[in-house]
C-alpha cells in the first residue's frame, strides 16, 4: 500500500501526531523513502483556526515533500526542488522537493482529488517514494478518495462523550466500508460521468447532473426512473436529504434496486455520519442496496484522549483528558479494526498494517 491518507474528525484529534509518528518510524529504516503532502496546511507552529500550538512535522534527509513554493523556507529542513508543478494553492505553486538536510517542514500541497493524484503519482514514479502520506484537513475528506487506505484520527476533541464518539466512529467506518458493486455494474459505470439510470436489459438513461445534492435534481431524476430501472449510478456527491427524497420516490420499487456510488466519500461529505447510517439502514430494510465502485479501506483508527477545554473565566483553553483506557476499550469493542493511541502505543502497529 503506497498512498495513505490520514483524516482527522476535528482539530486536535491527533492527525498530525499520527503522521509524525509514522515519519519517525520510517526514519528508522533507511530503505523506505517516504513522501509527505497535505490537502490543508500543516506543520505550522500555531493553528490557523484555533490559535493553539500544534505538533510539527519533521522529515529526514532523502525523503520528499510536496508543498507550496512560498513555504519552502518556512521550516528548518533544507529542501531541493525536484519538480515544479503547474498546480496553484493560495500560498503559491506546488513544488515537489527532496529533503537535503533533516528538519521541520510546513506543508500545504494540492487540495483537489485530481491534482493530489497527479502529485502523488509524481512523488512515487519520479521521486521514487515507496510510500506517500497525505495529511488531511478540517472537515475535508473528499480528496482522500485518491488514497489507497485511510487512517482515521479521532478523539475527545471531537466529542468528550466517549459513547457518542465511539458510535460516530463506527458510523464513519461503516459508511467507508460500503459494499463494492458487482463487476457488471462497475463495467457499465466506469465510463459514465453523470447520474445514470441502468435499466433492465442494460439500457442506460443519463441525466445532466453528476451530483445528487438538491431536491430539484431528485425531482427531475424521477422523470427518467421507470419500472424498468434496476439501478441508479451517481458519480459525484450524494447528499443525505436528497437520498432520502430518492427513497420516497422509489418507494416499494427499492426492493432489489441498487444505488451505486463512485466511492463512499461521496456520501460521507453530505451530513452527519449518524444520519447517513440511518438512511443506509432504511435502504437495507427495504431490501435495496447501496454499493460503491471503489472502496477506500480504513486501515486503522487512532485515538486521542486529549481535548482543549475552554475556560470561560480566563478566556483560554486548558488541556483536558477523557479516560484513555475506557476510550480504547469501547472503541475496540465497536470496531473490527486496529485502534491505536499513538502517543502511548507508537506507530509500529500502523507500520505493520502498511506492510513496512
Amino acid at each position: 500500500m503506497r498512498i495513505i491518507g490520514v483524516a482527522g474528525t476535528a482539530k486536535n484529534t491527533g492527525k498530525t501526531t499520527t503522521i509524525s509518528a509514522l515519519l519517525r518510524c520510517v526514519s528508522q529504516s533507511s530503505k523506505t523513502k517516504v513522501g509527505l503532502t497535505s490537502i490543508g496546511y500543516d506543520g505550522e507552529e500555531i493553528d490557523n483556526i484555533t490559535g493553539l500550538v500544534k505538533p510539527r512535522l519533521f522529515l529526514n534527509k532523502g525523503n520528499v515533500v510536496a508543498t507550496a513554493i512560498t513555504l519552502i523556507n518556512a521550516g528548518s529542513a533544507e529542501l531541493k526542488i525536484v519538480e515544479e508543478t503547474n498546480i496553484f494553492t493560495p500560498l503559491g505553486k506546488v513544488i515537489i522537493a527532496e529533503v537535503k538536510k533533516d528538519g521541520l517542514v510546513v506543508v500545504a500541497g494540492p487540495n483537489k482529488s485530481g491534482e493530489l493524484k497527479r502529485v502523488v503519482d509524481t512523488m512515487i514514479e519520479k521521486a521514487g517514494c515507496h510510500m506517500v502520506l497525505v495529511d488531511g484537513a478540517l472537515n475535508r475528506i473528499a480528496p482522500m478518495a485518491v488514497t489507497e487506505g485511510l487512517i482515521i484520527a479521532t478523539g475527545a476533541a471531537r466529542n468528550p462523550d466517549v459513547a457518542e464518539l465511539v458510535q460516530e466512529t463506527r458510523h464513519i467506518c461503516d459508511i467507508l466500508d460500503l459494499a463494492e458493486a458487482e463487476e457488471s455494474y462497475k463495467k457499465i459505470a466506469s465510463d459514465i460521468k453523470t447520474i445514470a439510470v441502468i435499466n433492465k436489459g442494460g439500457k442506460i438513461d443519463t441525466y445532466r447532473y453528476s451530483a445528487l445534492i438538491h431536491d430539484d435534481i431528485v425531482a427531475e431524476l424521477r422523470k427518467i426512473i421507470t419500472d424498468d430501472a434496476r439501478a441508479v449510478y451517481i458519480p459525484a456527491a450524494v447528499s443525505q436529504p436528497a437520498l432520502e427524497k430518492l427513497l420516497k420516490i422509489l418507494g416499494a420499487r427499492l426492493s432489489g434496486f441498487t444505488i451505486l456510488l463512485h466511492d463512499p466519500i461521496k456520501l460521507l461529505v453530505s451530513a452527519s455520519p449518524e444520519r447517513i447510517v440511518r438512511t443506509i439502514n432504511k435502504i437495507e430494510a427495504l431490501k435495496g442496496r447501496i454499493e460503491v465502485l471503489k472502496k477506500v479501506p480504513v486501515l486503522a483508527v487512532t485515538i486521542n484522549p486529549f481535548y482543549p477545554r475552554y475556560m470561560f473565566d480566563k478566556n483560554i483553553y486548558e488541556p483536558a483528558y477523557v479516560d484513555e483506557k475506557l476510550l480504547k476499550e469501547e472503541m475496540q469493542k465497536a470496531l473490527s479494526l486496529p485502534v491505536v493511541n499513538i502517543l502511548k502505543d507508537g506507530a509500529d502497529i500502523l507500520m505493520k498494517i502498511l506492510g513496512f
Partner: protein, 605 residues
C-alpha cells in the same frame, strides 16, 4: 477586457453580509465578465447547484469568520469537490478573517482578507498573477518647507525680530565654546583617513570633553550600563533588516493631500530596538521619525564613538549609531536628529548632516529655559548649529516645549520667532513647532476648560497671521490628554491630529498610546494604536473642517499682542541673552529657569 470572458458566481455563504461581493461584482461587470450574485443565506447545496446550472468558471464565496465557520467552509469545499466541481471551477473565499494560510487549510484556490482590492479578485477570476502595488514606492519623501517663502504679514513683528536677530549675530561674533571646537575637530576627523592624525585629533577632541567622555577616549570606558553592540548583534540586525525590508508594505496615513505628515519619536537606548520600532511605525504609515537622545548627553560635553547600546534614557548619539539608523530607513522616511537643548548642539547638527538626516531641531529659548543649558552658551552654540543646518540644507524646527514648564504661549512663541528669524538670516529653513496639547498655562488660565480645540486653533491662527512658514505641531500632539487607557489615548491623539489637519498644518508628532504611562519602554503595539487611529481620523474627516468657537480668534489676537509686547521688551533690553537670564521670554514664576549646564564656557577668540 484583458482576457477571456468568465462566468462568475458570487455567493455569500453568510446569513447577512454580501457588500464585499457587490463591490467585486461591479468590478467584474466593468471588466466585461458575466456575474451572478446569489442572495445571502443560501445553503452549500443550493450554491453548488447554481454553479452547475449556470456552468460557471469561478465561484467567489464571502463569509465573515465566526463560530464554527471554518468547519462550514471546509464542508462546502468538500461538497464542491465531491460534486465534481473542483476540477473545472476555481473557488475563492473572502472575509474579514481570511488569510492565504487559512484559505489553503480550508481547501480554497485563493483567500482574500481585509485590504483586498477588487483588482486582486479580478486577477484571480482571469487567472492572472496579481502584482501588488508597491506602496513603499508610492510613498515619497516630503519637504514640508517647500511651499513657504517666509514672508511676514505682521510687519511690526518682523521689524522687532530683525533687530533682535541682528543683535544675536553681532553678540556671538568672536566667541566660541567647547561645543563649537569639538564640532570643528569632528569635521577634521571626517576629512582625515590618516590614523596618526586621527589619534591626534581624538586627543584634541577629548580635551574639550567632560571626564566621563574623556575616559572613553583614554581607555574605551563607557558610562555605566552602556556597552558596544557585539559583532553578532550587528550581524543579527543586518539579517533582521533584510527580512523586514523584503516584506515591507507600508500603509499610507493620509487620505487627502492636505493631511499633515506624521512623525513618531524613538529613543529606546538600543539602536537595534530603535530600528525595530522605526520599521514597525513605517509599516503602519509613519512618514517621519525623530531621534531622542539621553538627557545626560545634553548635559555632558562630548560624544562617544561606536555602536552604543543599553542606555536607559534615549539613544546615544554617535556617528555609528546614527548611520545604523539611517541605513535602516525607507527612502521616503523623514528623519530628524534633535540638537535643540544641550552642550553638543553644533556637533549634533554636523553629525546629522554628515549621516544624511532630513531635519534637525534647534531652539535657544526652550533649550536654555526648559532644557537646562546656559542661555549664553546655547545662543553661541545655536548660531554655529544653524550655520551647519544651512550648509547641509537641513530644515530645523523650533520647538516650544517650554510651555510644558508653564511659560505662556505668547512668550514661548516670541522665543520661537526670534530663532526663526535668526535661522532665516543665516540661510536656513526653520519650521514653527507650537505645542499642540494641554499645557500648564491653560490648565491654570482655563482656556481648555470647555474644549481642546479653541486654544490650539488660536495658536495656529496667530502664527499664520504673522508669517508664511511651515508649521509642525508637537510635541507630541495631545500630550497630557492621554491616560493609561490605550483606547482613550489613541482617540485623543486622533482627534488632535484631525484638528491639526483641519487647521492645515504641515506636520504632527504623535505619541504611542502608552507613552505617557508606560512606566518603562513603550510597546510597538501601542505605536500601532495611535498610527491606526490617526489614519482613521484622516479618513473620517477628509476635507471636512472642525469649527472652533469665536474664542479662538480672540485668543489668537491676544497671543499676537503678547508676542509683540514680549519682543518689544527684548528689544528694549538690548541683549537677547540678557533677556533670557532676566526672564523676559519666560520667568522663574512662570516655571522657566535659565539653565546652568555650560555656564561660563563661552570664550572670546
Amino acid at each position: 477586457m484583458t482576457s477571456q470572458k468568465k462566468k462568475v458566481l458570487l455567493a455569500p455563504l453568510d446569513p447577512v453580509h454580501d457588500i464585499g461581493l457587490k463591490m467585486i461584482k461591479r468590478g467584474l461587470d466593468l471588466a466585461g465578465h458575466d456575474t451572478i450574485l446569489l442572495p445571502p443565506d443560501y445553503s452549500p447545496e443550493e450554491i453548488i447547484k447554481a454553479a452547475i446550472d449556470n456552468n460557471v468558471d469561478v465561484i467567489l464565496i464571502s463569509r465573515t469568520l465566526g463560530y464554527r465557520v471554518a468547519e462550514i467552509l471546509g464542508s462546502f469545499i468538500d461538497l464542491a469537490e465531491a460534486s465534481g466541481l473542483r476540477e473545472r471551477v476555481k473557488i475563492g473565499i473572502g472575509g474579514m478573517a481570511i488569510k492565504p494560510e487559512l484559505a489553503a487549510e480550508l481547501g480554497f484556490d485563493a483567500g482574500f482578507g481585509p485590504g483586498t482590492t477588487v483588482e486582486e479578485a479580478i486577477a484571480f477570476v482571469e487567472g492572472r498573477e496579481y502584482i501588488e502595488e508597491d506602496r513603499g514606492a508610492r510613498k515619497t519623501k516630503k519637504d514640508i518647507t517647500e511651499k513657504y517663502d517666509y514672508t511676514f504679514k505682521n510687519k511690526r513683528i518682523e521689524k522687532l525680530l530683525n533687530t533682535i536677530a541682528d543683535e544675536i549675530i553681532e553678540y556671538v561674533k568672536g566667541k566660541t565654546t567647547p561645543g563649537i571646537e569639538r564640532a570643528k575637530i569632528r569635521e577634521k576627523m571626517f576629512e582625515s583617513d590618516d590614523e596618526a592624525e586621527l589619534r591626534q585629533l581624538r586627543k584634541e577632541y577629548a580635551a574639550f570633553c567632560d571626564d566621563i567622555v574623556k575616559a572613553y577616549y583614554a581607555n574605551g570606558a563607557l558610562k555605566e550600563k552602556t556597552r558596544q553592540l557585539t559583532s553578532e548583534e550587528l550581524q543579527a540586525l543586518k539579517s533582521y533588516l533584510e527580512k523586514v525590508k523584503a516584506k515591507m508594505k507600508p500603509l499610507i496615513l493620509q487620505h487627502i493631500d492636505t493631511n499633515p505628515v506624521v512623525f513618531i519619536q524613538y529613543g529606546t537606548g538600543c539602536p537595534f530596538m530603535d530600528i525595530a520600532h522605526i520599521k514597525t511605525c513605517e509599516a503602519w504609515g509613519a512618514d517621519g521619525v525623530v531621534h531622542f537622545d539621553p538627557s545626560w548627553g545634553a548635559r555632558t560635553e562630548g560624544f562617544y564613538e561606536g555602536f552604543i547600546t543599553h542606555e536607559e534614557d534615549g539613544s546615544v548619539i554617535t556617528y555609528e549609531n546614527l548611520k545604523l539608523i539611517k541605513d535602516a530607513l525607507m527612502p521616503s522616511t523623514l528623519w530628524q536628529v534633535r540638537a535643540h537643548r544641550g552642550l553638543n548642539t553644533p556637533e549634533t547638527v554636523l553629525l546629522a548632516g554628515k549621516v544624511g538626516a532630513d531635519l534637525t531641531k534647534i531652539n535657544i529659548a526652550y533649550g536654555s529655559l526648559g532644557g537646562g543649558t546656559d542661555p549664553e552658551r546655547l545662543t553661541v552654540d545655536a548660531v554655529a548649529a544653524i550655520k551647519y543646518a544651512a550648509r547641509f540644507k537641513m530644515p530645523f524646527d523650533v520647538v516650544t516645549n517650554e510651555e510644558l514648564c508653564g511659560v505662556p504661549a505668547h512668550k514661548a512663541f516670541a522665543g520661537m520667532l526670534i530663532v526663526t528669524m535668526l535661522g532665516l538670516k543665516l540661510g536656513a529653513r526653520p519650521i514653527l513647532q507650537p505645542l499642540f496639547c494641554y499645557s500648564p498655562e491653560v490648565m491654570i488660565s482655563g482656556q481648555m476648560k470647555d474644549n481642546y480645540i479653541d486654544f490650539n486653533a488660536a495658536k495656529i491662527f496667530a502664527l499664520k497671521s504673522i508669517l508664511n512658514a511651515p508649521i509642525w505641531c508637537g510635541a507630541p500632539i495631545g500630550f497630557l490628554t492621554q491616560t493609561e487607557d490605550r483606547v482613550q489615548s489613541s482617540l485623543s491623539t486622533a482627534l488632535h491630529a484631525s484638528l491639526a489637519s483641519s487647521l492645515e498644518v504641515d506636520g504632527i508628532s504623535i505619541a504611542s498610546a502608552d507613552e505617557a504611562y508606560s512606566g518603562g519602554p513603550i510597546s510597538a503595539a501601542a505605536r500601532v494604536d495611535t498610527l491606526r487611529a490617526t489614519q482613521s481620523a484622516f479618513r473620517f474627516f477628509g476635507h471636512a473642517k472642525i469649527i472652533p468657537t469665536e474664542n479662538s480668534e480672540i485668543w489668537a489676537s491676544q497671543i499676537v499682542e503678547g508676542i509683540e509686547r514680549t519682543l518689544e521688551s527684548v528689544v528694549k533690553n538690548g541683549s537677547f541673552v540678557d533677556a533670557l537670564y532676566k526672564g523676559l521670554l519666560g520667568s522663574r514664576e512662570e516655571g522657566a529657569y535659565p539653565g546652568r549646564a555650560g555656564r561660563g564656557t563661552v570664550k572670546n577668540i
